[in-house]
């Protein structure tokens, strides 16, 4: 695994240098969270729906093997070819072999976070295959050679002027143009040519139905549909956790997904695929890439219930003020921070610390994943496995020594108060990471214990 350029804290420091931009980012995402609330409050049974979503997913995790076998059987009967990929590399090779088999070197792709996780675009580029991402936000970041910063709003870190400049360079729009309507129209024309000329199209999968061997893809732009209905080959890539037992369970998930994501009552298109159209070939690639391992971790397995709505991103005070790129992983935000350490603990050890543990993520999660509790548990695992910096682990170790001995605690408290009062430079310096963003508090004259003994006579 590649080393990261910057950990979350240093990348966030960079991001926070432009204060006006951070404020805008923060407010824009909070606006999306507010739209979610407005949509949710119109559904009196919302909490029961979340419980249903959660229980259905718990049930699926406990019967994953049989549901996958059932799905494979039914999909095969429907005329869909099923492939299994143990990791990202195998997934990418399967995609490449399908493209090569068609004798083409171009593909159009709608949003699939799984292919980001597998680094499919880079892999295919090396093989000489051109991939065009057709979701508008993804196309913008692709032109800029950046990864998406948000799983639902891939270009949310960019201002319209930046998008305008990118389109001016790549699509020949007028210099200085910033009108979203005009820019979107330019992308529409450009991508329409792409849709009309690609023989292979790849999509993600929102839900795969064991009972019928079909799958559902949700978009607002219609880009997944435009791609696959005009292509000779449809490849759908899915993590195995996308499975649900029955069609009737879609009622729960389609009611939860878009409301949680953007505050819409449902996405514009919720397309159900069961058979290739006449003359078309349809493939599904079922990917593991660390998911079986996560399934075997009792504390972390329910992160696999995620339906990728990104409500936890939009509500997170840390995400909103640090931006998606500071997470250096395909899936950012709170959910990404509990998924990423499973894939590579050393590389992603900083992410579970990118949280205030306020719990807002768990409160908005439509399938009730205990996200903030898992962040807290990951911290413990990471310290035990030696994946945190010596400053942090030394701090934790000394706190543990101090807090486990009452007399040591009292002496250390006295010493601390004395130093902060008489030699403030001992704490107010840049070696103290806490001081870098905060003033140290005024020093109290006495500890609570001293006050209590004085006031209540120790009784």
């Amino acid at each position: 695994m590649n080393n990261i350029k910057q950990d979350h804290a240093s990348a966030s420091t960079e991001f926070n240098k432009d204060e006006a931009h951070v404020d805008w980012h923060d407010e824009t995402l909070w606006f999306v969270r507010s739209k979610r609330d407005k949509a949710v409050f119109q559904i009196p049974e919302w909490e029961q729906l979340r419980e249903a979503g959660s229980q259905i997913k718990n049930h699926v995790l406990s019967n994953m093997h049989d549901y996958l076998v059932e799905f494979e059987k039914k999909a095969t009967e429907n005329g869909i070819k099923i492939h299994w990929a143990a990791d990202g590399q195998e997934h990418n090779e399967i995609v490449y072999s399908i493209i090569k088999n068609e004798g083409v070197n171009r593909m159009v792709k709608s949003k699939s976070m799984l292919t980001e996780e597998c680094h499919l675009n880079e892999f295919l580029k090396e093989k000489g295959v051109e991939v065009i991402d057709s979701d508008l936000g993804e196309r913008i970041v692709q032109m800029r050679q950046e990864p998406p910063s948000h799983i639902v709003l891939p270009a949310i870190h960019l201002k319209r002027a930046e998008v305008g400049e990118t389109f001016h360079q790549h699509l020949g729009t007028e210099k200085g143009a910033t009108d979203p309507q005009y820019l979107t129209e330019a992308a529409r024309q450009h991508l329409r040519d792409t849709f009309l000329s690609r023989k292979v199209a790849l999509t993600g999968v929102n839900f795969a139905i064991a009972e019928t061997g079909g799958f559902v893809v949700c978009t607002n732009e219609g880009n997944a549909d435009m791609g696959v209905h005009l292509a000779d080959v449809h490849i759908a890539s899915m993590g195995f956790e996308k499975i649900i037992p029955k069609v009737e369970h879609l009622g729960v998930f389609l009611r939860l997904l878009a409301r949680s994501a953007t505050g819409q009552p449902i996405t514009t298109f919720s397309s159900h695929f069961h058979k290739p159209r006449a003359g078309q070939k349809m493939h599904i690639i079922i990917v593991d890439n660390g998911r079986t391992k996560q399934l075997g971790r009792p504390d972390f397995r329910n992160s696999l219930k995620c339906i990728r709505c990104a409500a936890c991103f939009n509500t997170c005070p840390v995400y909103r003020r640090s931006g998606g790129h500071s997470y250096h992983t395909a899936i950012a935000g709170p959910i990404g921070s509990i998924l990423a350490p499973n894939l590579d603990m050393a590389r992603n050890a900083d992410l579970p610390f990118a949280s205030t543990l306020c719990g807002s993520c768990s409160n908005v999660c439509p399938v009730k994943i205990d996200i903030h509790e898992q962040l807290y548990k990951w911290r413990q695992v990471l310290v035990q496995e030696g994946h945190v910096s010596s400053v942090k682990s030394l701090g934790i170790k000394s706190m543990s020594t101090i807090l486990s001995s009452p007399s040591f605690y009292r002496t250390a408290g006295k010493l601390g108060r004395f130093l902060m009062k008489n030699s403030p430079f001992m704490t107010n310096n840049n070696l103290n990471v806490w001081y870098q963003h905060r003033d140290m508090p005024d020093v109290p004259k006495e500890s609570f214990r001293e006050w209590f003994i004085r006031e209540k006579g120790g009784k």
Binding site: T28, E185, N220, V252, T262, H274
Partner: protein, 194 residues
């Protein structure tokens, strides 16, 4: 061992103990007037609903609103005189120049203005997305309350493809500014037949 066997056997080993599914997962939605709720939600998602009593009224409205539009296709026999574009083609790429498609919807959902269309209504899967503008005709009696009822009503695997369409295609990927007409239709008109 193939990846299939490897993955399935790891799942079998690692999945938690079997957990029964006995939670309530269907709910009632109560709306005073299903058509009004549907029309309100359709307007919220960027579409427009209009009550009509006959195909003549639809024809008149299409002629009024799309008066200089050519390349119109329809799957509805009663509206065939509006069409100057045949859907009797083999290759969906030939739909590229289509400006307006008028199709039938199977049923509609009041809570989210979603309309189910499948290969029963669509001669080409690409039709409702590739057209510049889309109009759907539904029957008022075919408006139901919510998605739970929708999945009781539809057999999703009866055909190879079906989709819920809620409003025209849209995006807010540039600074969260809503733009109608991303890759699919730029506008959605729904005629609701009494």
């Amino acid at each position: 061992m193939s990846s299939r066997e490897k993955i399935l056997s790891a799942i079998k080993t690692n999945q938690p103990d079997y957990q029964e599914l006995n939670v309530q997962f269907k709910f009632e939605s109560v709306y005073e007037n299903l058509y009004e709720k549907f029309a309100e939600m359709l307007s919220f998602v960027g579409g427009k609903a209009m009550e009509v009593n006959s195909y003549e009224e639809i024809k008149a409205d299409v002629r009024l609103h799309y008066h200089d539009v050519t390349n119109i296709a329809t799957t509805i026999d009663e509206l065939s005189e509006l069409a100057d574009f045949s859907l009797n083609i083999a290759d969906p790429h030939d739909l590229e120049t289509l400006n307006l498609a008028i199709i039938e919807g199977d049923f509609a959902v009041a809570e989210n203005a979603a309309i189910w269309v499948s290969e029963k209504q669509l001669p080409h899967r690409a039709l409702p997305m590739i057209t510049q503008y889309l109009a759907i005709v539904i029957h008022k009696s075919a408006i139901i309350t919510n998605m739970h009822r929708a999945y009781e009503r539809v057999k999703v695997n009866e055909t190879g493809f079906g989709t819920f369409i809620s409003g025209p295609s849209k995006t807010a990927d540039i600074e969260q500014s809503l733009v109608i007409g991303a890759h699919g239709a730029r506008g959605l008109m729904v005629y609701v037949m009494n």
